[in-house]
Symmetry: C2
Subunit: 300 residues, 2 copies
């Protein structure tokens, strides 16, 4: 399973990068290979100053060795070894009419002293963070998520959509980071779902990413925008930073366990603003977005 999924994320990174470069039409991803001293490493691919993408990364990593102390405490185990691999991506478009997107698909194995697998699970998801609300974009993204889920279990979409709204939530702002999508974790073998079934599900979602995102980019990338709409995008990007640095478990875990900082923080937007006590005007497009962030909707 681990070899199969590791191979899958390599291929997925290639196909996602190719799809994004094609629509960007200017910038290409720059690759950094890195090694983790304790075992494993990664292939970070970053795009900057493109026609469409101001900054973004599509990164894979596969790490293994002794489970770090903080993670042993977290999982309540002792002296365990582990293997973890995954693909993480964040894209920050230049045009405020094009939403930011985040996705992640990962697999984890834990071993006893004799190297036997004692636990294994998948996790991941994908979610959309627009600066202006185009309802048809939200519907398209969520519908693509739902279609991928429904091929496996009709309960998955509502369940993982709700978890996404719950997870990507800036509690200190009382609003969602974006319009959500899917979030799932600790997907372990049960009577209904073998690990192979979970593999099929997670790769189905991974395969749906370009289909979920590219048509939205295509529709919005050439729309005109004003300086004040760009300012609004940069202010909203501040909320993205707040979520990632204050609340996101993956980011904090990476920062506190000596992960590769530049690969983790590629998620942070290129240009960001903080304005004291900023509120959009009543009845404006900006306020319409905030209202939806404060009250997550069902899009399909």
């Amino acid at each position: 399973m681990k070899d199969k999924f590791f191979k899958y994320i390599h291929e997925l990174q290639d196909s996602i990068v190719a799809g994004l470069e094609k629509i960007d039409g200017k910038a290409t991803f720059q690759e950094d290979l890195w090694k983790r001293p304790e075992g494993g490493g990664g292939r970070t691919r970053v795009i900057e100053n493109g026609n469409v993408f101001e900054k973004g990364g599509v990164n894979i990593s596969g790490v293994h060795g002794k489970l770090p102390d903080s993670m042993q405490t977290y999982f309540g185990v002792e002296d365990a070894d582990f293997f973890a691999c995954g693909l993480s991506l964040v894209l920050h478009p230049k045009n405020p009419m094009v939403p930011t997107v985040h996705a992640n698909w990962r697999y984890f194995e834990m071993y006893d002293k004799d190297g036997n697998i004692v636990d294994q699970w998948f996790g991941g998801g994908q979610d959309l963070t627009p600066y202006y609300l185009f309802e048809e974009d939200a519907k398209h993204f969520h519908q693509t998520c739902k279609t991928a889920c429904d091929k496996h279990n009709p309960e998955f979409y509502p369940k993982y959509k709700a978890r996404c709204d719950e997870y990507f939530y800036n509690t200190h702002r009382n609003e969602g980071r974006g319009l959500g999508g899917l979030f799932f974790d600790y997907c372990k073998a049960t009577d209904d779902m073998s690990m192979q079934n979970w593999y099929d599900f997670v790769t189905q979602v991974g395969d749906s990413f370009l289909e979920a995102y590219i048509p939205i980019v295509e529709k919005r990338k050439d729309l005109e925008y004003t300086k004040s709409q760009r300012d609004w995008q940069e202010i909203r990007r501040g909320r993205y930073v707040e979520f990632n640095l204050v609340h996101d478990k993956g980011t904090l875990f990476g920062l506190k366990t000596n992960g590769r900082i530049e690969s983790i923080l590629m998620s942070l937007p290129p240009h960001v603003q903080w304005v004291y006590d900023h509120h959009p005007e009543a009845g404006s497009e900006e306020e319409k977005l905030v209202q939806v962030l404060q009250n997550p909707k069902n899009w399909v």
Copy 2:
């Protein structure tokens, strides 16, 4: 003590705001009064888009009531009441040759069920975060801190200077947030120092703030700078955000205990950049700064 110190921070806010407005020459501080539902409130004063200060706040608050659960756990007490007041300031100048500055002076009391004081202490400090290194500025700032400390105890400056270097440290970047200054906490009555002695010390430091900072602003505010120097400032401001959102106990405490968000996050800079894997050129002024941040120096 609590009334005396609360009165002191009101007066200090007035005099610091007056000093900053005078040197800015354009923008004035806007005042927001706010109430805390559970008891107390604050007087937030924010400056934006000045000649000198692009964004900043000089805030006081005095809050009281039942000690929040998370703080009870933190202090290892049960069913306690508390009073806390303090002044917090952060100033982000426009010109990258002028350093950002942060300061805070605070007082805390804890009570038993009958309203008797069971614990009380002062805390605070002030620290400098330049974007370009002018050694004479670092020396002036630290010398002013030392002079204030030395009037009370010759051991205070070395001790609180070291604590400042240790506290304002971005562990995930292996570098200090800035050039330090003073940081002290849990200053409680001992055989050597009564609470009145601590009051005298803390207010001495508070009174030294304008003297520590204004001459530096005066010297640097009209220096010319290039777009790439401004970019460097915005990239470094990203590290400021990282510290405040990932590591700063005060900020996280405020965010997780329903503090007034806009007063807490006034500390975040107005315009910020994140560039993937950015490194200053070898031998540049930018690299010189980073080397000092990685290896804190003694300035006096």
